[in-house]
Symmetry: C2
Subunit: 332 residues, 2 copies
């Protein structure tokens, strides 16, 4: 008989936390007991799960007794405070915050890319940044085939990446009503903001830096990535215009064939029927969608492509649940 697991979700009432619970159910993760955790303010709320409702408990240092997997998505400070405590109580922490991602002792895992790293954990496994996850799922099979020399990426990121507050600001601005809260430094309706997360001294944003640093760690290769990350008034998924230079020739038909058989990817690439990945179509799905695959005529071995994925799903909740699936697939 299959073992069943006690799974805690810290930050259960947030956009990602809710989706983690949904994905645990949808992917039929063998949950014996779900433990939704949040701040005291949200305690007592009921989260729907497998036809019942599970009460949210206040997250405390004692929340993790008997917990097998603790999925964290409540911000870096919560992860730093409670993640190690959960580990001490015997849980494996899968952390969606940036708290431990670049810690050399913490694996940063995308199951399609570096599954083996997951098993090197010391209690904590980090879930990468959303915009990085969808990109590396596509980069990995292409790097294996042609050797990536350099990546230039520009993103078009959904307001869902800023949580419920981001969605609220867009909706309030569209409705021309007073903002419930201001999440972005400028209006986002009918606008785009070349500014996600905080600015660093070199002029890049932390979001851009994450794409550069995390890609190298996940891919286990020193691939130079230069990024411009941009918030757009989209609800549904992040899009990325990705330019890749390879070491070796990369015929477009080979690229397309490789991506079609790669795990986690759906190729949507038929200009004749206006088929290409769209954030509103990726919304609510677990896959990474790729299209607009074309030869880059400006360099010897290059391609352009367009990658879209639901940032709350594969970019966060789904990837976290898939890491847990990966771990139990070896335990059974």
């Amino acid at each position: 008989m299959k073992k069943l697991y006690t799974v805690a979700v810290a930050g259960a009432t947030g956009l990602v936390g809710r989706t983690m619970i949904t994905v645990l159910e949808e992917l039929n993760f063998p949950v014996e007991q779900l433990v939704p955790l949040a701040s005291a303010r949200s305690a007592g709320m009921e989260m729907p799960f497998k036809g019942t409702h599970v009460k949210v408990r206040t997250l405390t240092a004692e929340s993790f007794a008997g917990v097998d997997f603790a999925l964290f998505s409540a911000g870096a400070s919560v992860s730093k405070e409670f993640g190690p405590k959960a580990v001490l109580q015997g849980a494996i922490v899968i952390d969606n915050s940036s708290a431990f991602r670049m810690d050399p002792d913490v694996p940063l895992v995308v199951p399609e890319v570096n599954p083996k790293d997951a098993f090197k954990h010391h209690g904590i496994i980090a879930n990468p940044n959303c915009s990085t996850i969808q990109m590396v799922v596509v980069l990995k099979p292409l790097h294996d085939a042609f050797g990536i020399k350099r990546v230039v990426v520009s993103t078009y990121q959904s307001v869902t990446g800023a949580g419920k507050k981001g969605v609220n600001q867009l909706e309030d601005e569209i409705a021309k009503q007073p903002l419930r809260e201001k999440k972005f430094p400028h209006p986002i309706a009918y606008n785009v903001l070349p500014h996600i997360d905080v600015f660093l001294p070199d002029g890049y944003t932390k979001e851009e830096q994450k794409m550069t640093d995390e890609t190298k760690k996940i891919m286990g290769a020193d691939i130079p990535v230069t990024a411009t990350t941009v918030r757009v008034p989209v609800i549904g998924g992040h899009s990325e215009a990705v330019n890749i230079e390879f070491d070796r020739p990369c015929p477009v038909e080979d690229v397309r064939a490789i991506l079609k058989r790669a795990p986690g990817i759906i190729v949507q690439d038929d200009p004749a029927t206006n088929l290409y990945p769209l954030p509103i179509h990726a919304y609510g799905k677990n896959d990474v969608f790729v299209g607009r695959i074309r030869k880059d005529f400006s360099i010897r071995n290059g391609i352009n492509l367009w990658i879209v994925s639901d940032n709350v799903r594969k970019g966060a909740a789904t990837n976290a649940v898939q890491i847990a699936q990966l771990l139990i697939s070896q335990k059974q």
Copy 2:
């Protein structure tokens, strides 16, 4: 005494045509007589100009008698049919359509970049594509300083680039009301479309091809440009994430200083105060705004920057009027 000119605007009731009339007035172009032209359907409408109203006439082969400058923005087929007729009647045609842009006998002009080309005309001068104009205004001074080796650009293009119909589709979708007309192949509200203009056999869109081809012609240099052009639910201006590789070292402070003194450019680049170009701020302005200037660490001599401009203004109407200004500045 300054000479006054008779100026016709073909396509006077469209988004760009109306703005051409506004800009003629704002820039104080020496207009003796304004001749707004449009299809028979719009004839009789009144266009506000310098405190009066000027009746729109039906565009015919005889519309251009006595006209000094004919600004066309009524689509390529109208330009092809009536442009040469206007020239035969003695007008200088400044054409905003794609009809003549790549014709070797027609100069393609951005006054800040290649003003001398304007004087080589044989009656027709082409106004470049909107997304190309704002990019080359920035590329030109940097090419002169450091030699551009390659450009990778991703665009974030306003629905105003698709005319009033594009704006209507976004507004109707946002209001959840039946579309007055369908301009885009997919919904644009809360979405982004990696598809502007038609697809070509190599997988690029015509908009992407324009950025590649027109940049070379305007710059008079074989600069390789690879582009991904994307429609976003923005009303106000086009944005571009531009990655430039140079032949020579390009210190960021030098880049910033060069752009600050370059014509037509306003540098907005202060991350500490969240200052960077935004489409909603560029809306209604004639300048090209640049910010997010930063060293590209993925190559030896590279920078990233963020360029925004009102595509209906500098990307179309303003540039056309500036070409006319340039021509008369030499006539006076």
